[in-house]
Every structure is written in C-alpha cells, then in structure tokens.
Amino acid sequence: MSPFLVRRLVRLVVVVLGVSLVTFAILHASGDPVSLMMPEAPEADRAVLRQALGLHDPLPVQFARFVGNTVTGNFGKSFFHHGQSASALVLERMPTTLLLTVLSMTLALMVALPVGIYSAVRRGRTVDQLATGTVFLGQSMPVFWTGIMLILLFGVQWRVLPVSGWDSWAAVLLPTATLSTFTAPLLLRIVRSSMLEVIGLDYVRTARAKGVSESLVIWRHALKNAALPLVTVTGLQFGLLLGGAVITETVFAIPGVGRLIVGAIRQLDFPVVQAGVFMLAMIVVSVNVMVDVLYLYLNPQIRIR
C-alpha cells in the first residue's frame, strides 16, 4: 500500500503542476491583462503597471516564480479586484461550489439508486424504459436551459421556490436539482449494469434458493457490487460536475468559484485564474486519490466473498 500511495501522491503533484503549466501557457497566450485594465492609457503608463505586476519578466522566470509562490500558497493579488489576495478570493467561494457539487451528487445518487435497481430488476419492461428515459431526458438538455426552465416553472409559474441567489436553503434546491440532472444518468447506468451483472450470478441464486428474501438479496449483495464502480465514477464525474457547476452558478447568481474563474478568464486576471484552477485541480485529483484508496480498501472484501 505505502509505495502505491507515495506514487499516487507524486502523481498528484505532477498533475497539478501540469494543470498549472497549461493554465499559465493559455493565459499568457490570451493577451495582455494590462491593456484590458487600462485600454485607453498610453503605452508608457501600461509599461509601468506591467513592471509592477511582474509581467515583463521572461516567461520561464514568471512560471518559476509562480511555482515557488504556490508552494507557499501565495498566488499574488488579483489584477481586477484591487488588492485582494487571489487565494483568499477563491477560498471564500470554494465551500459554496463544493456544497453545490456534493449536494447535487447526493441528489443524483438518491435518484439513480432506486431507479437503477428497479429498472434492472424489471429489466426490459416498459417501466424500465420509461424510468431510464426520464432520467436521460435530464441529461439531454444543456444545463443552462434546464436551469432556466426550472426557474420559470418553480420560480415564476408556481412561485414555490426562490428564483436565484444563495441566501436560504430553499434557494439551494433549484440549482442542486439542475446540476444533478447532469450526473444522474451516468450513475443510473452504472447502478443498472452492475445490478444486471450480479443478478444472474451463482451466489445470488444460491442465496435465493436458501430462501433469503428477494429484496434482501438485491439490497445487500447486488448493491455491494455496484458500490465499487459507483465510487469510481463519482470520482471521475467530479471534474465534469465542477464544469456544470460553473454554468449553474451563472444562471442562479450563486457566489461560487466557477463564476469567479469565468469572470477572471474574461478579464485576464491571471492570479485568480491560476489560483482557482489550481485549487479545483487539487480537489479533483485528491478526490480521485481518495477514490483509488477507497477502491483498494473495498476490493479485497469483494474478492473474498
């Protein structure tokens, strides 16, 4: 286990560095943030600002400085939000985005599990088709469109939920629902196919023969089989989910990291983009390391059974 962990951690560092390098490269190719900040100023003024921001050093120097600072957690000050520390800006919003993502994942699971199991058990029948079809419906629309439709339905037409914002638990519902329509189908697929794999297996038949009740069989044995790929997929999905969160945050006016980074990219606010992308990558990779560890932990149990 240990050398494996070490390797994974090294991988983590390398990946995050790689992500930062790519971000750095794209940002610097995108243009000059100083001319965005001072579009009408004479070049002399802009050169001074560039100097102050350290932007006129050769690129490798800038990147080395960035890596050095990152290790100490210092991403510099935002270009756009005068004087605010880039990492502070990102950290301020991270819990919001994480909460949105985790809640959406949970809601998606809560839908995918029963529907997936049910459709596997009643395989091929109309119910299976309908249930799967409905869940897939959610994934077949662009996320922002789903969000707007939900706002129109629950916010404007029926007036049961707040339209936007993040200032009450009621306001959390619509964005969570929107985002979970994004993940639910894949989770459903996994649950369903894992169930199908196991339902025919010997030990399940044996258990049934021994007289163990059907639902017990399903829930205990079959579910265990689904747990593994579910856990794996959750990790894989996390990155995609963060992407969906960006859109959801914009539609529902939620103060999250995604929205911050989108704005920062537009404004070429290098420190904020680097800080934000770095932390998001850290989270995604860490989640996957945890998933890998969890996987190894769960795996031997299944083999023994």
């Binding site: 990946v15 629309m141 662009p142 980074i261």
Partner: protein
C-alpha cells in the same frame, strides 16, 4: 493510475467469433423499441443536415424586420410561411434549425474525430510500449481530465477568438482521455495473448500487430464512446455559447440559438424552445442508441 476492474473480457480468439457476435448485436438492437426510435430520430437529423440546402424553406440568414417575433403557425399571429415562427430579426426558425442540424452535427462529429485520433493513437502507443512513455501519456490523461473542461475551453476560445474551428479543436482536445484509457486497457489485456506472441514470433512488425489484431478489438469500445461523445460535444458547445464564446457567425448551432434566444423566453418562447427540443431529441436518440450499443458490445465501458 489505479487498476480498474477488467472483468473476464470480451476477447476474441479469432475473427469468426467476432463476426458472429456482431450479428447478434444487430439483432439485439432491432428488438429494442427505444433503440429503434433513437435510430430513426438520428436518421432524420442526419438526413436534414445533409439535405439542408434543398429542404430549408427560407434562407436562414434572410432578415425581415416586419416579420420579427412571428409566433409558430398554430399560435395567434402565426404565419404558415414560418411554421416555427421567426426570431428577433425576422429569420425563419425552422430554416435555422435545419441548418443548425448541419453545423451542430458537424461540430460534434469533428470534435469526436479529433478526440478519437488523438486518444486512440496515444492509447495504443501507451499500452503497447509501456514504460516511461506510458507514464508520460497517462499523466497527460490525468492532467486533461483534472482540468475543469469548460474553463479550459473558455480560456482557449477567449485566447484565440470565436470561431467554429477553435470550438471544435477545444472540444476535441478535452475529450481524448477516455479513448486513450480504454484503448490502453484493451491493449494491456491483449498484449500477452497467445496469438499476439505468435505474430511477433513470426516477425510481424509492431505497427501491423497493432493495426490488424489489437485495434479491431477496441472498435466496439470506441464506437460506444464516440457515439456518446457526439452527444456530449453538442451539449458542451451549447454551454460555451451560453458563456458567450460561441462561434460568432451568422449560421448558428442549436446551442447558439438557445443561448441567443434565452433572454426572450418570456416573450418569444419558441426561440429557445425549438432548438432546445432539437438538441433534446438528438442527444436522447444518441444516448438511447449508444446505450444499447454499449449493452450489446461492451458493457464495461
């Protein structure tokens, strides 16, 4: 990269087995009504895309300020010349949707082509050669999907300016990892098989082994993945349009039509709704077909 479970795989000892399995696949598909419906929808969409210049009732770019915001033909104020209504400068929605089929599909398919080319190649190389090259390529895979994809796309398009080519390239370069992973796994599973050993013993070069023996076994996975990725690419393009980094051209994709029309949803509901339905139907159809394909060909993907 942790070892994911590879259940007793569908590895074919030789060609005849494979062919028999494939015809079973098509029969299985045929029996499934959902998949059949999906295929029909897709044929319709592709047909529309191909026949676009001949079947569009109006020029999708022709404006008419008098005819702005005409509702669909069945609503009050509707006009049979514009069955699905007109947009904010009087262009026919139906024509734009038909044309949009062409462009949306083009974007989706080309993005997938890019992803497949890059991903399959790297996956083959990585799996076959192993060692350091494998580590490097797998690290690249990790980097690619650790990156919040939409932000990468946004950054690219912001940097390069709006154009269809940029969007296609971006979607392509952010989607290749899944192919690399799957192909690599397949290669690893097959690499040690007898018939490969035999081929090598006979002196057949690596490239030929890859092309003739290993690659065909990955086809089913690739087909399933690429089908699903087309759907995903269409949706991602819509997301990019929403964020304002669409292609900026006169002929829009469906995603752009929704993005452009969403502000008017309360006065001209048909503007975002019909392209939304178009995406819905197409993506749903792709998912249904892709899903059954997956069930039939390669459930572990």
């Amino acid at each position: 990269m942790a070892v994911r479970p590879i259940p007793a795989g569908i590895a074919y000892a030789d060609d005849s087995d494979r062919r028999a399995s494939r015809s079973r696949t098509w029969r299985k598909l045929g029996r499934n009504p959902a998949a059949v419906l999906g295929v029909m929808i897709l044929l319709g969409v592709v047909g529309a895309a191909l026949a676009a210049p001949w079947i569009t009732p109006h020029d999708p770019a022709k404006q008419s300020l008098i005819r702005r915001f005409t509702p669909p033909v069945w609503a009050t104020g509707g006009n049979s010349a514009y069955p699905l209504g007109t947009d904010q400068v009087g262009r026919d929605v139906l024509s734009r949707i038909i044309h949009g089929a062409r462009i949306s599909l083009l974007v989706g398919v080309l993005a997938v082509v890019v992803s497949v080319l890059v991903g399959v190649t790297l996956g083959l190389v990585s799996g076959f050669l192993g060692g350091r090259i494998d580590t490097v390529i797998m690290t690249a895979v990790d980097i690619t999907w650790s990156f919040p994809q939409i932000l990468l796309a946004l950054a690219f398009v912001a940097a390069l300016g709006p154009s269809l080519v940029t969007v296609i390239l971006v979607l392509g370069f952010t989607g290749w990892e899944r192919y690399a992973r799957v192909v690599r796994a397949e290669v690893l599973a097959l690499r040690e098989k007898d018939f490969i050993e035999a081929a090598r013993a006979m002196g057949i070069g690596s490239a030929r082994i890859l092309a003739r023996h290993i690659l065909p076994n990955t086809f089913s996975s690739i087909v399933v993945l690429s089908t699903l990725q087309v759907a995903q690419a269409i949706l991602q393009e819509a997301a990019l349009s929403f964020l304002g980094v669409g292609s900026g051209r006169t002929y829009p994709t469906w995603g752009q039509m929704i993005a452009l029309g969403r502000d008017f949803v309360s006065v001209a509901w048909w503007l975002p709704t019909f392209p939304g339905l178009a995406i819905l139907a197409t993506v749903l159809a792709i998912n249904l077909v892709g899903d059954r394909l997956r069930d039939a060909l390669d459930p572990r993907v």
